[in-house]
C-alpha cells in the first residue's frame, strides 16, 4: 500500500516540476482564449514561423513575448479550427475559437485519452456511429461486418440473441481466447457489444496494432474495440425519435427430397445393380402417398419474422452542464420459430463543470434483455423424413393403431404396408414389421411445442468521473464505477417432450457478474514552441467476481408449473454418470488485476511524431513470479506533407504520413483453476442393504493443473501510411503488420493416462502477418450528386513457429475428426485421409492397400506414405479454415435529398468442414449428396460420391471439406432526408429510409450447406485448436426494413 501511495506522489511531483517559464522576448502580448462555453485551458499559442509558444492556463489566459510588429499568433486546440491573428500593435488579443466539425471527427479515442487523427502513430480504425444506425440488425457487432479492414465478423448462427464471433487482425490470432477486449466507455465488457444500442454510439475505435493496444496490457493481444457513447451538447434540447420496422425471410433452404423421390431413386438404383430397395423406404413412400408430404424445414421457420426498433433521445444542456439521455426498445425475431430477442435500454450521461478547474460527470446505463431460442438445432428438422406428418390425422391414427397428437417416428415402427408387389390375384402383398423411420426422438415440431429455452439479462453500468486541473496543462482524473450483470436462463421440457419416456425436466442457471473498476490518471499537456508533449501516468485496479447458480430438476407432477419449486427430484452436482449439470451454487475466485501505466506523446512542428507507453499488469490468475508482466510500446510518425519542401506538391498530394510502431501485448485469458489443482466431490456407495452414499474427494476436472503457466505475449511491428490525394478526394490508409506471439497459451491435449485429457500450457510461438487497406474515394462531388466509395481489404497469414518442442499437436472434434497444428505451417489445418474417389469393386479393394472396413461404394483412401498399407500414418493436411483474403466495398450516392448506399462483403479461399455429412438422412434426402453417387460397379456415378456412409468413416477423410468462400450484398439502403427548411420549421429534420440486409448471397458450387458463415462453437469447438466446423446451421436471413428518424 505504501509503495503505491508513494508512486502516485512521485508521479505527481515529476509532473509538477516540468512546467517552465517562457523565454523573455521583446514585447508582451496577453489575452484570454475561450469558446462558447467559457475559457479554454491548454490552447497552444505559437508565434507563426518560430518555435516560440505557450499554452493557456486554467482561466484561458496566456502571455507571450513576440519579436516584432508583424508577428502572427496561431491558436490551435484539438477539435477546434486553427485561428491566426496578426498581432499588429495590440497588447491584448482575445480569441473565441470555433469547433471545427471536420476536425472534431478527427479526434480519435485511444486508451485513456484522445488523440488527433493527424497525429496518430499507431493503427487505429474509427467508425462513426452514423454508419451503423440504418442497418436493420439488433446487434452492433453484426452492423460492423465488412466495414473495417482487419476486423472479421462471422455470423456463426442466424439465431438472434447469439453474438457473432469477432476477430481483430485475422481469425489466425491464437490464444486461449481470441476475442478482442471490448471497452465501453472505459469498462471492459465480457459480453461484447450486445448491450449497446447503435443509436447511442458516437464512435467505435479499433486499436489494431500492438503499440496502440499495449496501454491495455495483458488483455490486449487480440486487439481492443473501444465504444464511446454520445454525450450531450451545450445547445438547447433537441429530440430525436427513430423507429424502424422490418421483415426477414430465409435466404435459402436445403434441397431435401421427399420419401417418394427417394423410393424412386432406390428403385432406379436397384435396377442399376445397387442394393435392394428396402421395405422401410417402400413403406415411407406408401404412407406419403396416402397423407401427403411435410416440408420439415418450413415447419421450423417463420415465413416472415419481424424486427422493430424505437429509440428516443434528448440531448442538450447549458454552458456548464451537458446531458444526453436515451431510451430504446428493440424486438428482433429470428426466422426460426421460438427465437426472439427483446431489449430495453436506458442511458444517461452528464458532464458538468463545477468550477473552471473541476469537471464532474457520470454515465449510467441500464439494460434489460429477454431472449428465447429454440431447443432444437435446424438439423433436427431437415433430418426428419417427409412422410412423417407433424400431427396424426384420421388416416395415420387408424393406421398406427390409435396414436393421436404429434406424430413420432416410433409410432410407425413395426408397421405393415402393402409394398411387396402383388400376388397372383393382383392383391397387394403386405410387408410386415417394417420401420420406416427408426428414431426414438420426437418430431422436432413437437419438441418445439413442448420445450422452452429462454433467458434474461439485467445489467447496469454506473460510472462517475472527476477531473481536476491541478496546474496549467496538468489534469488529474479519477473514474470509478461498477458494472453488474445478472443473467438467469430457464429451460423447461414437458413430460415426453424430447423422446418417449423422458420425464418433465427443468433447469435454471444464473450468473452474477460484478466488475469494480477504478482508473486514476494524471495527464500533462505542454506546448513549447514547436514542441508538443503529452504525458500520461495512471494506476488502475479492477476486481471481477463471478458467481453462478445451477439447478436441474425433473419429475414435475404437472406441466402447468414450470418453476423449480414444483419439481420433485433435483439432480445433484456431483453426478458422475456423465449427464446433467447438477444443482448448486458456484463461486469462482475473484479476478484481480492491478496496473500501472504511463505514456508520452510528442510532436515536433506537427511533423515528427513519437509516442511511447508502458503498462505493468499484476494478475491474481497466476502464481509466484508469473504475477507481473510489462507491456511496452513505441511508435513513430512522419507527416511528410508538413515538410516545407512538399508544399509545391500539396495540390495533388494533400496528405502523406508514414508510421511505424512496435508494441507488446498480452493475453491472460486462462480459465479459473488452470494453475491450481482443486478437488471436487466424488462419492461412492457402501454399506448393507442398498448401501449409503459415502463422501469422497478427487480432482474431477478433465484439465491437469499447471502452476507454471504465465502470460501469453505478442510482439508486433506495424508499418503504415496515410495518403490523401487531391484535397482528400482519395484517401488511403495502408498497414502491414508482423507479429510473434510467444508463450502461447492454450489448452493442449494430454495423454489420458495422466488421469486428465488436457492441460493449459505456454508452449509455442505463432507468427501473424498481414496487410490491410482502407481506400476512400469521392468519385463525384457536385451539389446535387455525390458519390463516395469505401473499400477495405485485408489479408492475413499465420504460421506456427514452435509448439513445445513438438512437431505437431492434433486435436479432435465431436466426430473424431482431426485438426492439426504443425510447425512451419498455418496454425490449424484439417487433418485426415485424402481420398481418391470411391472403391468400385471388392477386387479393386483387395488389389490395393485398404482398411478392414472398406467396401465397394465407400471412399477410397490414398496410401499417402506409399508403404503399401493404410494406417493412421497416411493422414495428411487437408487445407485450413483461414480465408486467403476478405473485403468490403461501400458505395454511397447522394442525389439531392436522396441517399443510396450498398455494402458488398466477401471472404475468399476458406475451407469449412461440413458436419452434415455425418447423418444418414443427409445421404438419403439431401439432393446435394445424392447426385452422381456410386451405385454399383457398372454405375459408379462420377466416381467421387460414396454410397451413403459405406466403408471407411467419411468424417475422417477430406470428403466433408468444402469451399466456404462467399460474396454478399450485406446491406443496401435508400434514404430521403428533409431539412428544417423543407419542413417549414415544424421539425428540425426528417429522414425516411428502406434498408435491406443479405439480399443477395453467393457461394461456391462446392459448398453443400446453406450458410457458409455458420460454425459450431460449443464444447470442444471452443478450443482455439479447432476451427472451421459447421453442422446444422440455421438458414441465412435476409431482412428488409422501413425506418424514419424525426428530429425536433
Amino acid at each position: 500500500m505504501i509503495t503505491k501511495a508513494k508512486c502516485i506522489v512521485l508521479a505527481l511531483a515529476a509532473m509538477l516540476v516540468l512546467p517552465f517559464q517562457a523565454m523573455a522576448q521583446s514585447r508582451s502580448v496577453s489575452g484570454v482564449v475561450s469558446d462558447q462555453g467559457g475559457p479554454l485551458i491548454g490552447v497552444s499559442v505559437v508565434e507563426k514561423g518560430t518555435t516560440n509558444g505557450v499554452s493557456t492556463d486554467l482561466d484561458g489566459r496566456y502571455s507571450i513575448k513576440v519579436t516584432g510588429s508583424d508577428a502572427v499568433l496561431v491558436f490551435t486546440y484539438i477539435g477546434f479550427a486553427d485561428v491566426e491573428v496578426p498581432v499588429g500593435k495590440q497588447s491584448t488579443v482575445n480569441v473565441v475559437m470555433e469547433v471545427d466539425a471536420t476536425l472534431l471527427d478527427d479526434a480519435v479515442v485511444v486508451g485513456y485519452g484522445t488523440q488527433a487523427k493527424s497525429h496518430l502513430t499507431g493503427s487505429v480504425a474509427k467508425i462513426g456511429g452514423e454508419s451503423l444506425i440504418d442497418l436493420p440488425v439488433s446487434d452492433v457487432t453484426t452492423a460492423l461486418q465488412g466495414q473495417i479492414a482487419g476486423l472479421s465478423i462471422n455470423n456463426i448462427t442466424s439465431e438472434v440473441g447469439v453474438a457473432p464471433t469477432i476477430r481483430v487482425r485475422g481469425t489466425g490470432s491464437i490464444s486461449a481466447d481470441s476475442a478482442p477486449l471490448v471497452i465501453v466507455d472505459g469498462f471492459p465488457e465480457p459480453e461484447g457489444l450486445s448491450n449497446v444500442n447503435a443509436n447511442d454510439i458516437k464512435s467505435i475505435e479499433i486499436l489494431k496494432d500492438a503499440a496502440s493496444a499495449a496501454i491495455y496490457g495483458s488483455r490486449a493481444a487480440n486487439g481492443v474495440i473501444m465504444i464511446t457513447t454520445k454525450s450531450g451538447n451545450a445547445e438547447k434540447p433537441s429530440y430525436t425519435l427513430k423507429a424502424y420496422q422490418g421483415g426477414k425471410y430465409a435466404y435459402k433452404l436445403h434441397d431435401m427430397i421427399t420419401a417418394t423421390d427417394y423410393l424412386n431413386l432406390q428403385i432406379a438404383e436397384e435396377s442399376m445393380g445397387g442394393p435392394a430397395v428396402k421395405g422401410q423406404d417402400r413403406a415411407a413412400a406408401w404412407i406419403e402417398q396416402n397423407i401427403g408430404s411435410t416440408d420439415w424445414q418450413r415447419e421450423a421457420l417463420r415465413s416472415i419474422a419481424g424486427i422493430t426498433s424505437v429509440q428516443f433521445s434528448v440531448s442538450g444542456g447549458s454552458k456548464r452542464i451537458k446531458q444526453y439521455t436515451s431510451a430504446s426498445y428493440t424486438r428482433d425475431q429470428g426466422i426460426m420459430l421460438q427465437n426472439q430477442v427483446e431489449k430495453i435500454g436506458f442511458r444517461t450521461r452528464l458532464d458538468a463543470e463545477l468550477h473552471p478547474r473541476v469537471t464532474f460527470g457520470y454515465n449510467i446505463s441500464g439494460n434489460y434483455q429477454k431472449w428465447e431460442r429454440p431447443r432444437n438445432n435446424f438439423i433436427d428438422f431437415y433430418r426428419t423424413p417427409s412422410f412423417l406428418p407433424v400431427q396424426h390425422n384420421a388416416w395415420t391414427t387408424a393406421f398406427t393403431g390409435g396414436y393421436t397428437g404429434f406424430a413420432r417416428g416410433s409410432h410407425f415402427n413395426s408397421i405393415s404396408a402393402p409394398t411387396n408387389g402383388t400376388d397372383e390375384y393382383g392383391n397387394p402383398i403386405w410387408d410386415k414389421n417394417v420401420s420406416p423411420f427408426n428414431s426414438a426422438n420426437n418430431n422436432p415440431k413437437s419438441v418445439m411445442a413442448n420445450t422452452e429455452r429462454s433467458g434474461e439479462s439485467f445489467s447496469a453500468l454506473a460510472n462517475a468521473y472527476f477531473e481536476v486541473t491541478l496546474a496549467p496543462g496538468l489534469k488529474f482524473r479519477t473514474s470509478d464505477g461498477l458494472n453488474v450483470r445478472f443473467s438467469p436462463s430457464y429451460n423447461y421440457a414437458n413430460i415426453n417432450a424430447l423422446k418417449d419416456g423422458t420425464p418433465s425436466e427443468a433447469s435454471y442457471f444464473s450468473t452474477l457478474y460484478v466488475d469494480l473498476l477504478s482508473e486514476n490518471t494524471l495527464n500533462y499537456d505542454l506546448t513549447k514552441g514547436a514542441h508538443k508533449l503529452n504525458l500520461l501516468a495512471g494506476f488502475t485496479a479492477e476486481k471481477t467476481r463471478v458467481q453462478r447458480v445451477a439447478m436441474s430438476a425433473s419429475g414435475f407432477p404437472t406441466d402447468d408449473i414450470h418453476t423449480l419449486n414444483a419439481a420433485t427430484v433435483f439432480e445433484i452436482a456431483a453426478n458422475n454418470n456423465g449427464n446433467g449439470a447438477g444443482t448448486g451454487t458456484f463461486r469462482y475466485p475473484d479476478k484481480v488485476l492491478e496496473s500501472w501505466l504511463a505514456r508520452a506523446t510528442y510532436s515536433y512542428k506537427d511533423r515528427y511524431l513519437a509516442s511511447a507507453s508502458v503498462r505493468l499488469d499484476r494478475s491474481s490468475l497466476f502464481i509466484g513470479d508469473n504475477v507481473n508482466a510489462w507491456f511496452p510500446s513505441i511508435s513513430l510518425g512522419w507527416r511528410v506533407t508538413e515538410e516545407p519542401w512538399m508544399k509545391p506538391y500539396s495540390k495533388t498530394l494533400s496528405n502523406l504520413k508514414l508510421r511505424a510502431s512496435y508494441g507488446v501485448t498480452g493475453n491472460n485469458n486462462v480459465q479459473y483453476y488452470s494453475a491450481l489443482e482443486v478437488l471436487g466431490g466424488a462419492n461412492y456407495v457402501t454399506g448393507e442393504g442398498n448401501g449409503n452414499l459415502v463422501p469422497g474427494a478427487a480432482n474431477t476436472s478433465s484439465t491437469l493443473a499447471n502452476s507454471n503457466i504465465t502470460w501469453e505475449q505478442t510482439d508486433e511491428f506495424n508499418g503504415g501510411l496515410d495518403l490523401g490525394l487531391f484535397h482528400g478526394r482519395i484517401s488511403l490508409t495502408a498497414d502491414a503488420y508482423y507479429s510473434i506471439t510467444r508463450a502461447l497459451l492454450f489448452e493442449q491435449p494430454t495423454q489420458s493416462f495422466t488421469g486428465f485429457t488436457k492441460y493449459w500450457n505456454n508452449i509455442g510461438r505463432v507468427r501473424n502477418s498481414g496487410i490491410e487497406l482502407q481506400l476512400s474515394t469521392i468519385n463525384f462531388d457536385r451539389r446535387k450528386f455525390k458519390w463516395e466509395t469505401n473499400l477495405n481489404f485485408s489479408l492475413t497469414r499465420n504460421k506456427l513457429l514452435e509448439i513445445g518442442g513438438e512437431k505437431q499437436v492434433i486435436t479432435q472434434g465431436e466426430r473424431s475428426e482431426n485438426y492439426i497444428a504443425r510447425v512451419g505451417e498455418p496454425l490449424i489445418q484439417y487433418y485426415g485421409f485424402r481420398t481418391n474417389g470411391v472403391w468400385n469393386s471388392t477386387e479393386e479393394i483387395n488389389a490395393n492397400p485398404h482398411f478392414a472396413a472398406d467396401v465397394p461404394g465407400g471412399l477410397r483412401i490414398v496410401d499417402a506414405n506409399g508403404d503399401g498399407s493404410l494406417t493412421d500414418e497416411d493422414r495428411v493436411t487437408l487445407g485450413n479454415p483461414y480465408p486467403d483474403f476478405s473485403y468490403g466495398i461501400t458505395n454511397t450516392f447522394l442525389i439531392g435529398k436522396l441517399d443510396i448506399s450498398f455494402l458488398i462483403q466477401g471472404v475468399q479461399g476458406i475451407t469449412v468442414f461440413n458436419g452434415d455429412v455425418y447423418y444418414n438422412e443427409t445421404h438419403k434426402y439431401n439432393a446435394a449428396y445424392l447426385k452422381d453417387r456410386w451405385v454399383s460397379a457398372d454405375y459408379p456415378g462420377n466416381g467421387k460420391v460414396p454410397f451413403g456412409k459405406y466403408g471407411y468413416d467419411i468424417l475422417l477423410t477430406d470428403y466433408p471439406l468444402q469451399d466456404g468462400s462467399y460474396v454478399c450484398l450485406r446491406n443496401a439502403t435508400i434514404g430521403y432526408t428533409l431539412n428544417k427548411k423543407d419542413l417549414k420549421n415544424v421539425l428540425k429534420g426528417l429522414r425516411l429510409y428502406v434498408s435491406g440486409n443479405n439480399l443477395l448471397y453467393l457461394w461456391s458450387k462446392d459448398y453443400k450447406g446453406i450458410n457458409p458463415e455458420s460454425r459450431m462453437t460449443g464444447s470442444q469447438y471452443s478450443s482455439p485448436m479447432i476451427s472451421g466446423y459447421q453442422r446444422g446451421g440455421f438458414p441465412l436471413t435476409s431482412t428488409v426494413t422501413f425506418g424514419a428518424e424525426i428530429r425536433f
Binding site: M1, A440, A682, N683, N690, G691, N920
Partner: protein, 499 residues
Amino acid sequence: MKKILYTIAALVAVSCNLNQVPFSQVVSNEYVKDDKSVENLVIGAYNSVYGVVYSEWAVTELRSNNARMRVNQSTSADSKLIEQLDQGTILTANSWVQDYWDACYKVISRANSVLPNLDVVQDPAKKAQFEGEARFLRAWMYFNIVRLWGPAFIVTAKMGADEARHLQRSPEEDVYALIESDLEAIVDNKLLPEKQTGSALGRADLRAAQALLAKVYVTHYKAGETKYAKALDLLSEVLDASGNPASGADLVPFNKVFATDNECNAEIIFAVRYRSGNLGIGSPFTTLYAPINNGGNVAIGSPKHYNFPSDNLIAAFNENPGDLRKDVTLQESYYNATTGLIVTNNARYCNKFIDPNMTSEWDAENDFPVIRLADVMLLWAEVSNELNGPSAEALTLLNAVRERAGIPVYTLADLPAKYEFREAVRKERRLELALENQWWFDLLRWGNAVTTVNAFFESEPFYGNYDYTVNPIQKWQTILPVPISVKNINKDVAQNPGY
C-alpha cells in the same frame, strides 16, 4: 485535493489482494491432513470405477457372440461406433474405445493419488486397507487394459503432461508383473480384511483380491506353469471364505443374485455399487439396456437398448429348456400396456440389470457384479480340470451351478475326459455369466475368440440381411487399437498390429 487522494487510496486498497482462493472447491495440496481425508481420496478412486463399467459392455459383450448391434443402418448417433465394435472393424478414432481407455486410466490415476499420502494415516489397519484398496483398483484396471490392448502405459505415480508425452507402452510382461506385484502384496501381507461387513460392505476385500489374482494367473500362465497351479489354491481360499458351496451350502437363488432388494448377497464377492435416489451415484444400466421406445413398460425414460442379446445366445439358452437363468438374463419381448400388445420385433433386451422401480433416468439401484461366487466356482472347476482332469470335486461345483439353474446335472460318465469337461465348463460359464462382461475375456483367455466370432457372423441371421458382406475377423482384430488421441500426441507410440 487530499480528500480525493485518500478516496483513491481507499479504492486501491480494496482491490489489492492478488491471492484469490476458490470458494466452491478445495485446493488439493492443502487437503490431505488426516485419516479421513485420505479415506476420501480412496472413495474418490472407487468413484471413478463408474466410468469404466459404464461402457465396458461395448468393448466386451458386443465384440463377442453374446450381443450385437440392434438394427442395421440405424439413424442413431452411436450406430457407427456399435457397428465397428460388433463387426471387428474398429477404427482408431472410435470414441467408445477412447472412453473406456480414458476411464481405466482415470481409476489408475486416482489410485496413484492415494498411495503417496499413506504416511499421513495414523491407524495402521486403515493404512493397510487404503493401500490394499488403491492397489486392488490399479491392478484390476491394468488387467482390463492388458487383456484388451496388450502393452500398456505404466503409471504408478502422479504424472505431469511433459513426462506423459514421451512415455512409451510397456510390454505385456511388465504390465502383468505390476498387476501381480500389487495383488500379491495384498494377498501376502493381508492388506485387506478377509470379508468386508457392515458399513464397509462393497469395498474390496481379501477374497476379491485373491479371486482377481487367480484370474490373472490363469490368464497369463499356462496349465504347466507354477502360478497357474497357484490359482487353484487362491480360488479354494475364496470358496472357503464364502461358505464353500462344495460342502453343500445353499447358493443364492439365481433370480435373487441380481435383485435390488438383495444387494451384497452371499453370491457377491465384489461389485460396483450404485444407489438410486438422485444422489449422482445411480446405476446407468437400466437406461443403457432397456428396450428403446418401451413406453414406460420396462423402464421409464428413453433407454438406449444397448447390449442387445444375439440370436446365438438365445439359442444357447434354448439348448436346456427350463433354464431359470434365461429369463433373468434376457427377455425376448415385453408387454405394451398402452396398446395391449406384446412387442416382439427387435424388442429383446438384457434383463440382468433392469430396475423396474427406477424413477429417473440413469438412476437405477442395481449393483454391477465384478466377481461373484459362481464365477469362482466355475473357474475352480476349470483350473482343476486343466491341472488334473475331471474330478468329483470339480463336478460338484459345476453341478451346483446347474442345479441352481434348474437344469439336469452331469455325471462323471457324461464328462469322462478333460476335453468334455472343459467344453461343459465353458458352456456353463457363458450361460451363467452372460452379459456380465466376462465372456469376451474368457474367449481371449482360451484363444478361441476368432473362431467363435466368425462362426457367429456365419450363423446369425442378422448379418445375412446386411447391405454388404460382414467379413470374418482375424486375430489382430481381437485386440483394440490404441486410441488415435494417443498417437496424435506422440506418434512414436507403437500401435497394435493391423491398425
